[in-house]
Amino acid sequence: MSKIPILINNFCKRNISVTATREGKRNFRKFVIPNKRGSVLHKKKQMTEDREFEIDKRGVRDIGYNLNGRLVIVPEMIPEIIVPNLKDFDLKPYVSYKAADVIQSEFTPSQLFDAVYSKKIVTDFKQGKLDEEGNPIEPSEEESLKPEEAIIRAKQTGSDIF
């Protein structure tokens, strides 16, 4: 009977944990596995359709679309850089230190409106060519432009920001 407490002291060293369990979670947020990184299995899986991460194009835009696993090239998607002829062009890469600082205020959309439309509105008003609501009786090309038509014109350039 006297030996039992000695045995307990020798190998009964289990404690009760009071802290929260980690449950095997480790913080892997900081590991980005871009295209060339990862194990062979991971890279093989990335090549198939059930890949874990999206393929990182590194900012390069596609020039076509995916059809049956092949890339179909669309010529309109290939960017065409249009550079005007710079012969007799005065502006150079640097500005001379002798040039004074040019301080310009921002050119706002309301200023653009004034520049394009205000003259005709004023002449129409003075000649009485505006109807009751203030719309012009003989609208010019800019005044008869609808918003949908304007967006189409802007998109025809090929830019997609509108």
């Binding site: 640097y94 002798k98 040039a99 004074a100 050119f107 394009v116 090929g158």
Partner: protein, 253 residues
Amino acid sequence: MRIYGYLAKKVGDLTIKYSNFPESYVKKSYEQVYWKTPAGYPQYKKAQVARKKYRFTTNRPWTGQFRQQNEPGTLRKKVFLEPIRDWTFFRGDRVEVMVGKDKGKQGIVSQVIQERNWVIVEGLNTHLRVVGKDKNFPGITIQSEAPLLVTSDVKLVDPESLKATDVEWRYTEEGDKVRVSLASSRIIPIPKTAEETIDYKSKELYIDNIEKDTTADAATKITFAPKLRTFEMDIMEEMGIKEDRVPAKSYWY
């Protein structure tokens, strides 16, 4: 402590003005970034592990000697700087040395190093150093100036009495900020040499590089005419590119 740290680690305004470099270039030239969070992933906040404490010296921060003196891994003892709100010393200022073997002598400031509150006066507070000493060669002795602390070792000189005075920044009746000597209330003007940089002695004396510099007239010429066109539409009209196809409707979500 934090504000002091922020104030102390910035490169001085006068250094950047003297270099004619954009501030971002100067910062990039001496910063040592060890690791950055990957860019282009919105889930990772922008953060970096970079060196914060540099030892600023008489070598400018973008030079190779500075980089050698601040190699990654070098830890230097802290330099205790008095943060100065209004900087009063400029290149070309007449200044009197108050300490050292040249005490009482007046000289002209040749270099200003704001990061250490230093000023190098021409010909004063010098010491001799031997350069290039070899077994066969005795070496060349050069007299080089040691920097002087702006707060204690050096004082501006009153232009008329030619005596050392303390200086304050005050506003004139027109609204200009000027340095005024406290002993006699005389204005100490900022010397013309202060606007000297690596590229020119003064802006009027700068000689344009014909191939790369835009002239002042070309830079200030107004060629803008407001039109109801987007940038791309304007270019298409200028180049004579015609497009009749209408793009399909697309949506932004």
